[in-house]
Subunit: 158 residues, 2 copies
């Protein structure tokens, strides 16, 4: 995949944030994700998703997993031309999913409220970009403050 | 969690293998998993699941993910008293899920046909036991030989 300049990240990041906002409106954990294909025709959102722990009583539908599940079955070569966007640093499960499909580029809204598997991604050659986005930070900080038990459950903490 | 002797693994391993067989009968990728709680009342299967790539056109429901999804929302302390069984060495996504929930013990049917994130599990203090089970090996080898494209897709290969 050729280098993707940061000004092309608004499309995927905006969608990921909208997913997070939709999650908040539903009473869910406000983390969203989007998968964007970069090819000769430009950039195209293949799928997006959001954390569904509360809405679907799900232990595995984190934002990124939900996004990849919504994208459905894709050939390996498609993932190789994608960026995955997420409003929050991906946990180790979502990190593993990114590594499984060898998605070469991950754009993260913020990693102030949580740091997941960023180092493992980098060790495996994945480009990791943290945007330090104040909207993402505020939405997540509010949730963690208001609902610490749901948040702890989502990241496997006591 | 106290040490679990290997003779107590028949319960979970048998269920995981039955899930894999059910997957094969459905035309799916024959990998199964089971989550077993060890507590003062003995051993109890909390959930089981199987790879659903073909059946549900799913990119994320590997055997272990399906099993954890079926188990639903659990408190962190429950996972800490569990063994997860899987017929095949867990891929890096499923490895990540095991690490997220800090499941302390993983029993693997076989790792001849595929080796996933076993080293990362061990580096993080997870007990990893490989049973080198001939039934698991034969079921998986047959599938890979007959349907290499579906198998490659499942592990993100071209």
């Amino acid at each position: 995949m050729p280098p993707i300049p940061a000004d092309r990240d608004a499309l995927g990041m905006q969608r990921a944030f909208e997913e997070a906002e939709d999650g908040a409106k539903e009473g869910g954990i406000p983390i969203g994700s989007a998968l964007v294909l970069h090819d000769d025709n430009g950039d195209r959102i293949l799928a997006s998703g959001r954390n569904m722990r509360i809405q679907k009583s799900s232990a595995t539908l984190h934002g990124e997993i939900c996004c990849l599940e919504t994208a459905g079955r894709l050939k390996a070569g498609v993932y190789r031309k994608c960026t995955i966007y997420t409003t929050l640093s991906p946990c180790i499960m979502c990190t593993g999913a990114i590594l499984l499909y060898r998605i070469p580029r991950v754009v993260i809204g913020e990693n102030t409220n949580y740091v997941g598997g960023e180092e493992l991604l980098k060790q495996n050659g994945v480009e990791v970009i943290v945007r330090n986005d104040s909207q993402c930070k505020e939405l997540m900080a509010k949730f963690i403050k208001e609902r610490p038990e749901d948040w702890n459950e989502d990241v496997g903490d006591e």
